[in-house]
Subunit: 123 residues, 2 copies
DNA sequence: TATGGTACTTACTAAAAAGTAAGTTTTATG
DNA sequence: CATAAAACTTACTTTTTAGTAAGTACCATA
């Protein structure tokens, strides 16, 4: 739960409101969000399908990030009245409109990321 | 200081290595980094100039984020043999190559961000 | 009852990021 | 000496994010 009156919170909100880059990063920032968005770009997927597509993700984290993406209107969560439960996630139009941006970011990343694992330069 | 063997760290590194979007976001993610990069796009600036351009930033946070951007080769830190100290920051070619990406992100952000402050929808 | 499947929820811990406040460095000037 | 300027550094605290582990709900089947 975010504390409302902390300097941290105040600065964060200020930057989100003033800087469209920060606004966007706020929507896609999260350990698993970009991969979720990537996996949903071609068709809707169930929770379990997403989970299998994201090695290392816990159900808890997956749920949390999906809920945030939903809250930000980037994806739709469809619950089917079935047992076992069946829940499907699909991109909204807004979520789809983000794909070219993500592709653009990916292109830059691909053009500069090293082909070997040399991340030790970072503290 | 990042702990090397935490699941958190392992997942993070895995995603940075596998996903170019995450790789890029790792470079620009940080409360003040995008604004720093934006302010440096036209000409080099001194520490104090950057500080004045970023309301709410502390010297500590500014220093930290500048050092990280430098470590990631996005900017150059030039120290002049003067008193009072004079240190200048400027974008590297790599930093400059990132500008179109940031502009692309900003465009999307601008197209969707509300014109009024309605961020309460987020937990 | 137990077991199974899917998709969570809850209570907590660990790790990371951001911030606070004080102190330091290099000289120059009074 | 004191004060000033610019650009940090250090030690600590607060806040936020990510993760661990157990439990829950809804049925269906044995």
């Amino acid at each position: 739960m975010r504390k409302e009156n902390s300097t941290n919170s105040i600065n964060r909100e200020a930057l989100i409101n003033q800087c469209p880059v920060n606004y966007t990063l706020e929507l896609i920032g999260g350990r698993w969000k970009t991969l979720i968005l990537f996996n949903l770009q071609n068709k809707p997927l169930r929770f379990s399908e997403l989970k299998r597509a994201l090695p290392g993700v816990t159900e808890k984290m997956l749920t949390q990030q999906l809920r945030e993406l939903e809250a930000d209107n980037l994806l739709t969560r469809t619950v089917y009245a079935e047992v076992p439960p069946r829940v499907e996630y699909s991109l909204t139009d807004l979520g789809k409109s983000l794909q070219p941006v993500l592709i653009n970011i990916a292109k830059w990343g691909l053009s500069v990321m090293p082909t070997y694992t040399s991340k030790q330069a970072r503290a």
